[in-house]
Amino acid sequence: MAISAVAPTVPTKVRSHLRSTTHESFLPVGIVTTFLSVVVLLPLAAIVAHASPGRSFWAAVFQPAALASLEFSLVASLAVAVVNAVAGTLIAWVLVRDKFRGKPLVNAVVDLPFALPTIVAGLTLISLYGPRSPFGINVAYARSGVILALLFVTLPFVVRSVQPVLTELDREMEEAAAALGAGILQTYSRIIFPSILPALISGTALGFARSVGEFGSVVLISGNIPFKTELAAVHIFGQIESGDMGGAAAVSIVLLVLSAAVLVALETLGRRIVRYDG
């Protein structure tokens, strides 16, 4: 009421500012902070609180099966990141620069891993590369099967972050380089690669963060063999089933720290999380 009374004498800008500070910002900020605290922050706090600090925390993390699963998660995710960086760039390149019929379809297929439930992703791989494989390949219960599942679910990350950068890339520079006698490889390493590098890093890192905690797509194909095919998330699941909540919380914290580090690093790099991440 007070606002409308003084309205005629107050300039428009100030008035709308008054309005926005008194009516608009307080309620939404309260809602958002409360919602995020209840849905996201509180559960994570419970995990941190349950991993008893000190000796038993480290004992749980350094327990051989836990350590082996963490190590496998880390190594597998790094391997997957390398393959994704190469294959993702290649696919993005073909989608942007190549001309062929049915391109929209191929483009849409790339998003499939984001839309397909992870358990189904695992089942599709078993169906084709499992014990009944028509090609006679059997990766079930093997580390290669786990890697395959991780590659499946992380495929879109690099493609979707590199693709828009390649689309925007100025082709005149490449043409100039070629005119000055640069070969294909030289043009790639001096002109194209530096421009897509930030997007490549961010896509690869997001894929890495995803595979470090991956669970659904690997449960069927890995057979969950400790010291062999057990990823960290699968190990945590086993600990929950056997009632070892402290141990599960300890390994969870290592995973949380790993993925939070990747997020914070990306945020500090000043890159917005890419649009399609899942």
């Binding site: 428009t12 709308s16 608009e24 910002s25 939404p28 900020v29 809602i31 919602f35 995020l36 849905v39 996201v40 559960p43 994570l44 419970a46 294959a87 290649l90 696919i91 390149w93 073909v94 062929f100 849409a108 297929v109 499939l112 891993p113 839309a115 397909l116 439930p117 992870t118 358990i119 189904v120 089942l123 599709t124 169906s127 084709l128 590369y129 395959l148 499946f152 495929l155 294909i184 963060a209 905690g213 991956e214 669970f215 659904g216 069927l220 998330a233 699941f237 929950i240 909540m245 599960a248 919380a249 969870s252 995973l255 993925s259 990747v262 997020l263 999380i273 649009r275 991440d277 899942g278």
Partner: protein, 261 residues
């Protein structure tokens, strides 16, 4: 020459990793004919699982959509000092393992959790029941709407909203008549992504659900249970239903991306 080689390499990779495996579950599901597929899908447990999956998504996705729009508004328009932290919290579910999400909820609402005793005393079940499954689904599908709406809102700017406010519109009127129409395709896109994730969530839900067939079993959990009990036709048939939902998602994503552009 090099061009063709690159194209073949990209096609080969996509075919071997995505297209052929996905096609193969359709083949396996219909191996025993359409009748065999239908019998597997029409199992009471399968139908219940499908219904439960849709119910959970039906609760979690609208809540996330409403929250997502408000949150995007705060992230874009407010001048809070802890805005960056809010943004990081919103992105966190992308980086947290689904199993860890499930564990967190058990540690909060389970029998030995922080709120466990109080909930038990009041006869409220969260873990091994619908509320826990909804909370798990909300956690994992939280960021999608926010992340889709933020760039749209940033691009639109707030001049029209300011104009509406100066012309005497209440904040509520401004939101419905000015803000919402300008971000609607972003919201729709986020809702589609969020729904796809909600339909398919396995890890977080499997920890809090307790996997009671016909009670707390969603469709992804049903696929797992059928596979483990060697009913491959049942597993493939339910997977095909989920894959069809995913294909519908892809289709909507493409249609919406064209509208947005």
């Amino acid at each position: 020459m090099a061009k063709i080689a690159l194209r073949l390499a990209a096609f080969g990779y996509l075919a071997a990793l995505l297209a052929l495996p996905v096609a193969s579950i359709f083949y396996r599901a219909f191996e025993h004919g359409v009748i065999g597929f239908w019998q597997a899908v029409a199992q009471p447990d399968a139908i219940h699982a499908l219904w439960l999956t849709l119910l959970i998504a039906g609760i979690a996705v609208p809540l996330n959509a409403v929250f997502g729009v408000i949150c995007a508004h705060v992230l874009v328009r407010s001048h809070l000092r802890w805005k960056r932290i809010l943004g990081l919290l919103v992105d966190l579910p992308f980086a947290v393992s689904p199993v860890v999400v499930g564990l967190a909820l058990v540690l909060l609402y389970g029998n030995q959790g922080w709120f466990g005793p109080w909930l038990a005393a009041h006869g409220i079940r969260v873990i091994f029941a619908l509320p826990g499954m909804v909370l798990a689904t909300m956690f994992v599908s939280l960021p999608f709407v926010v992340r889709e709406v933020v760039p749209v809102m940033r691009e639109t700017g707030d001049e029209q909203e300011q104009a509406a406010a100066t012309l005497g519109a209440s904040p509520w009127q401004t939101f419905w008549k000015v803000t919402l129409p300008s971000i609607r395709w972003g919201v729709a896109y986020g809702v589609v992504l969020s729904a796809a994730r909600a339909f398919g969530e396995y890890g977080a839900v499997s920890v809090v659900a307790g996997r009671l067939a016909g009670i707390t079993q969603t469709l992804p959990l049903y696929v797992d249970e059928r596979f483990e009990s060697f009913d491959l036709t049942g597993a493939y048939a339910a997977s095909v239903v989920l894959a069809l939902l995913a294909l519908a998602t892809l289709f909507s994503m493409n249609a919406l991306a064209r509208k947005e552009a």
